[in-house]
Subunit: 483 residues, 4 copies
């Protein structure tokens, strides 16, 4: 049974709401109130084709997982397909799409990208306004995100000379899995916003170069697609956003365990949406740009509070568990999986100690890339305090993430005791700019910078990186502060 566009167009309200996605019709009437992103965004497409809005932010299995089979109504008619294709072809490009197309043509040759900063600069130009806003947005006034990076500017090296570094090995192990360099890919959502192949670009790059990727619960590819893109022995970690409903959460964990993921990284620093104003403002800016004039206040009109939705980020975690505790949540997780557990999002010494006491396999210092709590102490500073106050916790410490841009940043964290360092946005930018090759490129850059730095410091292996090789100074480098 195939539907005509006219049939579908009848169901254009909250009382009966159908949408077309990839030439199939779905009845989402009952789902409207459950949609994490809110009903209104769906209702904009009620009775119509929603494919273009749906696709970049949902994994392919989202409909299967969240909508009962009975609501999968079936395909549109073949003439409807033709109409939709033709509409798509004749669609006038938006101003932002035209800008992006031009920027793609102007990208420099990949061989001329020398640093992660070069890569980010290209990505910022070729991303859609929406994607750039989602990737780069952070809490409030972007203090936390800026300070994460800036923290590195207060740590200087005591390089050692006359040490043999002809042979130099930057490899390490994370939760027991080998990594060619002490760097992993942090969980980061919605890679498809930047490139059609999304997270898979990064998976393939990680496989080729021998590093570990952490897959977000909110990935825009399905966990299975990503697993399929990995090489046979390539380890993948899973970043768990725990649903408030334990059954839903358990199902998610069991799915990835079955797919062969190697560890569960429980996110604890994002139980509620951060206040990401850049993300929230993005649709308004795009709208005003397209229309050519700014929106203005209409006297007497109430406060529609357009920001209520908390932007893209808010939608993703609306159903998450806001009441996790050490006593309750860790034993529950232990009970449903044999995988090692890493706590992602520790932001102070006291909680690092509690995590160690809770018996988890790994601790990841992180403030969610500065996207959640404004004025959270930068992870590098937490690491520094931990080194001074509780060196006993370092047996569990597996990582530190936030603000890393250079090989020297990685080495500072390692000197202070981190096993490895995570990068998130850098990979989103790299795959947005050049796909898989972009992701490979920045891993190669980091490897070269790490090797250069280790040799410059007189370290032939990661074991040679010691706390006394970094000094926290009482000024900061002005050049870095400009970034």
């Amino acid at each position: 049974m195939a539907f005509s566009l006219e049939d579908i167009a009848q169901h254009n309200s909250s009382s009966s709401c159908w949408v077309i996605i990839k030439n199939n019709v779905y009845d989402v009437t009952d789902f409207l109130q459950e949609h994490p992103g809110g009903a209104s965004i769906i209702l904009k497409y009620a009775g119509r084709d929603a494919t273009r809005a749906y696709e970049p932010i949902h994994p392919p299995d989202a409909l299967t997982k969240h909508l009962p089979a009975s609501k999968h109504l079936g395909p549109v008619s073949s003439s409807a397909v033709q109409t939709l294709v033709s509409a798509q072809q004749n669609r006038k490009k938006t101003k932002d799409e035209v800008r992006v197309e031009e920027a793609m043509k102007q990208r420099p040759p990949l061989g001329r990208i020398l640093s992660l900063r070069d890569m980010e600069a290209v990505a910022r130009k070729v991303l859609s306004h929406k994607a750039e806003s989602y990737y780069s947005s952070a809490a409030d006034d972007h203090v936390s995100v800026t300070e994460n990076a800036r923290a590195f500017s207060r740590f200087f090296f005591h390089p050692r000379v006359m040490r043999p570094v002809g042979k130099c090995d930057p490899s390490t192990t994370i939760l027991g899995y080998k990594s060619t360099i002490p760097v992993f890919v942090s969980g980061a959502a919605l890679a498809k916003l930047g490139h059609p192949l999304g997270e898979v670009n990064i998976t393939r790059a990680a496989g080729k170069t021998g590093i570990i990727q952490m897959i977000s619960s909110n990935a825009s590819m399905s966990y299975a697609e990503i697993a399929a893109a990995a090489q046979p022995t390539q380890p993948l970690f899973f970043q768990l956003y725990k649903n408030a409903d334990n059954a839903v959460a358990e199902k998610r964990v069991r799915e990835v365990e079955a797919l062969g993921y190697k560890a569960i990284c429980l996110t604890v620093d994002a139980v509620i949406p951060g206040n990401r104003e850049k993300d929230m403002k993005s649709p308004w800016i795009v709208e005003d740009l397209e229309r050519g004039t700014p929106s203005v206040h209409v006297e007497g009109e109430g406060d529609s509070d357009e920001a209520k939705g908390f932007g893209t980020a808010g939608a993703l975690i609306a159903a998450d568990d806001k009441d996790m505790t050490w006593e309750k949540t860790i034993p529950w997780l232990r009970g449903i999986t044999k995988l090692p557990i890493m706590i992602k999002g520790i932001q102070c010494v006291e909680d690092a100690v509690l995590a160690a006491e809770a018996g988890v396999e790994g601790i990841l210092l992180s403030n969610h890339g500065g996207r959640q709590q404004e004025y959270a102490l930068p992870p590098l500073e937490v690491l520094y305090r931990l080194r001074k106050q509780r060196p006993d916790v370092f047996g569990k410490l597996e990582g530190c993430e936030g603000g890393v841009q250079r090989g020297t940043d990685v080495l500072k964290a390692l000197c202070l005791g981190a096993t490895a360092v995570g990068l998130g946005r850098a990979f989103l930018y790299a795959q947005s700019a050049y796909g898989e090759a972009g992701a490979v490129k920045i891993i190669n850059i980091l490897q070269r910078e790490i090797l250069t730095g280790m040799r410059g410091l007189g370290a032939a292996s990661v074991r040679d990186l010691k706390p006394e090789m970094v000094e926290r100074v009482d000024w900061e480098s002005s050049e870095r502060a400009k970034l």
Copy 2:
């Protein structure tokens, strides 16, 4: 008996000076020397209609209170009314008025205001030059006002994770009165400069949202009008500028006590006018703008010292008591009112201790928004010193004001021990931009930010905010410093 414009025009000098205000004639000859703003500003309107200059900076009962009934000469004639109306209608708008009108049309939709900074940006555009200068001016080079805000950039959080924050309550009590969030409206003068409904906009917003407003002695609405705009159980506090004449001061206190105000906040940081150059320069800038060319020096002409008046601020407090002491003033105030007393304007630890010893009910750390003493230590820094040096004083500490722009600012002060935090200018800006809805909007923004921050810190109630959750660091956030 109704006056013709010709009659009135005869009385145009200091020997006999009549003015028209809202179609009534007043003989202000004897009052000229008592006028806090000086005689010269009145003489500009001698024999003429002064309504437009008078209204935005005087409460409606100012004439009743300050001018004997015998000097209220009566209404102008009906033909005079027509002439005045017609003159008003045909009056050519000034360049500044034209600019303001255009700016009002360009205001963004209220729903797109996401932060207090967004709100301030709109207000700065739609305010008259005079109002913007009065609201934003501060002492000397604006060091104190800038440092008040900047102080927050040196305090970072130690956010706690794995604590239940599904239910989160930001309410508190101030001097025993309930507030839905730990924020109150500080006393701030002359709200009518920004909006015809002035302080009443804020009173209504506070009533709707459940927070407490402090009314300035120098409000531009009468204390009674403001009380009338409040909801039945809505508490109002009174900010007392004590007149040098105890009898005058007592009358003022008894008036507000009779009107149902709940507390007396004695201002101690503004016994003389601050040096607010922006405010003093405003009329010259407006004058030069209107004429189209800058004023120039005429050789041989003496120093007219146009600044003598100390601007708007100076006029308001000219008659205030410069010789208050703990020994004399507190017992006097205690003797004339049963209301709780809060000392507003404590700027160092030593005086906080003296205030506590003087037995007052509340202490408010403040440097008058940086408008009085240049280089006064920022209130947040005083709070930090008080926490370290005299934690015993915190039983009396009710607040801290100055520089607050974000929910995280409020939370930092609460972690350090403040009960609540006051904002003044933010409310003047909000009501100037969007009236009552603007004031409601910023309370809602603060509530959302406070809730987000409390959850991000792992605090389910204000009691969970502890000193160990903030750290004063040895750098400061660069983003905030740009504000």
Copy 3:
């Protein structure tokens, strides 16, 4: 015997060099090598009228003092006078003169000058390039001069409240002489570069307002002219640049003692010229501006080292004593005068102690306004160290100078223990912009700011200003840092 221009023009070389100054002819052949500013600058005018170049930088008695009577050849002929007058009248104005004339017309009304910064801004525009360069130039990269002012941005107040300040007296005494405010005029050379009446403008302003002026050895008016401009009981201090030849130095001291000067301030921080590049570059910039194209290097041409002269500053002190010592110089000075001695130019705690031990009456912390030793510690910082390390020296400390722009700056120095604070450039700027009225104006501004600040701090007299009322903080005010 009167000379014709033709006669004079014969003597246009170093073997016979005559110049005309104010219509009189002088034979300076023998003096060429002694001229502190070098022979070449005189030779530019050999055989010609040198009045315009001579006058702004020499006191009227310079010729009498330095050239034997036999070299005063006599007046030019009356027809020569006419020719000179006519040449002067027809002279085409330089581009810089035209700019200055226009700037003078655009000066704002004096009444609109609210701060010393406002005054400096006007002066910077109306000064000739040469004068602006001489006044504002400082050592090397202007670090010392900038840091002198910036030091104040690290000192904040603990203002006290509830103290009677209705009556407030800012007066003090300096070396036993009364001053209406704790401010004096520092010695500063060449006031005539900025205004034809030069130092006398300041003398009259000091007399009218009751403050003390220190007269530089290098004043551009004669010591007698300045003394004559003072009021009968107005005290003048003398800033002694000691000549290497004790006899010359003694003559200078005896002259001012005879003229009634009240103290000798021995300059010890300027035995050699500072490296003032702005001053040295000024003539080149003026020359290039006048010609309209920049000068360029001629290949093969040697290094003429145009900078050899060390600019204006170098010329003034070329003959000064580079070998002063505590043991030798103080007893010598004591032996030739009964006047109290103040040491001007102490730059560290150790030397303040030595000065006190040497038995002088006063110590003035100063680094010559940042014009001599680059990276000399700012005087306010020296004062702060002295307060902490050697409070016993404060019996002798009379002052601190360098970087003062606001009344709050004065009060900070007084809280730390200074008796008074000196300003130099500020007075040069003020008299350049508005003559005597300008100098009066800034004294009035300082008085108002000091009174406002004392009341804001709760101090009714200078004795109430205490060290515990200032705190040296670990940040600095950003606004001030922009100056």
Copy 4:
């Protein structure tokens, strides 16, 4: 036997590669893989004239030293010479060459250069893009190079007064050799990139002014040419980059010892190439500039990794010893030469101690001008820590280099205990701008600044410069920070 251009053109591939250099033909086929700069740069000129590319970066004896005599095939034919000359004459200048020529004409007169900063500004304009990039490039984000200079902004003076400084002697000795000022020329490669006479300009200037030059192993003139340019008793030091092959390294040491060089300065901070992105990007920028449009990415094209070569710097040290140790390398060096040994490139206190224990004659604190390890502690800060932690090492300390721009910088290092201070880039810039006269000029500037500073500090000889005359403050000078 003379070759025709046609003959030579046959040999244009890696299987047979001939090049013409200064009208002689060389067979470099076997040498391609050994070329430190890589084969590809040679192959660009295979079968053609390579003189223009070869000359500015190779000393004249490079061919003799590195290519067996059998590969020196002989001269080109006389008609070929004519063709080459004519081709050279008719060659169209590149845009960068045209820019440089114009900039050379606009240089200011040498006499107007007042500071090293003035000199650098001229040089930056007249250098080719390639040379400017090589000279000014540094590691990563230029943090180390910037911080080297900025470190000086945190050290202030305690100038002493009343000390005789009429006679003032700034001379010292370095490794026993007299220097007129406490400054030497650091080893710096490729001076010919900036001026045809290259290092010889500096040698002659050093000879004339009496200071010591250190010659880089990678000088663009031959060691013999440089020695020949020196005056009979003028000492030259040799900066040794040790080849991984001890035999090659020994040959180099014996060569310079035979030429009369006085010391061996073993470079220990540059065993691998630094990451100098500015240098790596330079050819791309020049290429794009010449073509007029930027290069863009071609989809599907792999990552050519144009940066593999590590730029000019990488080529120079490709064959160097990456496995030096104190135990092995110092005894080896001691065994092959009688010259005193200085270790150049100590970057922390621990290694300064090890160097002293290894018995070398001198220690030079340096981080290679910030060109190698990013975030290496600035040498001045290392010196400061050494002074506080290990004052016993100062018997060996001969120098400190990095970031010096002013005489006051030199004096700060001397106060802290350095014997002398090295400058590298400053001399490259000076000789690029004005040849030998430029190099003389900056020595004279430094001498004048050092003399001015010594007198300003009350020091009549370098022995009078004491640690207590500098204070490391807790802020930094803003002016300097702008550099």
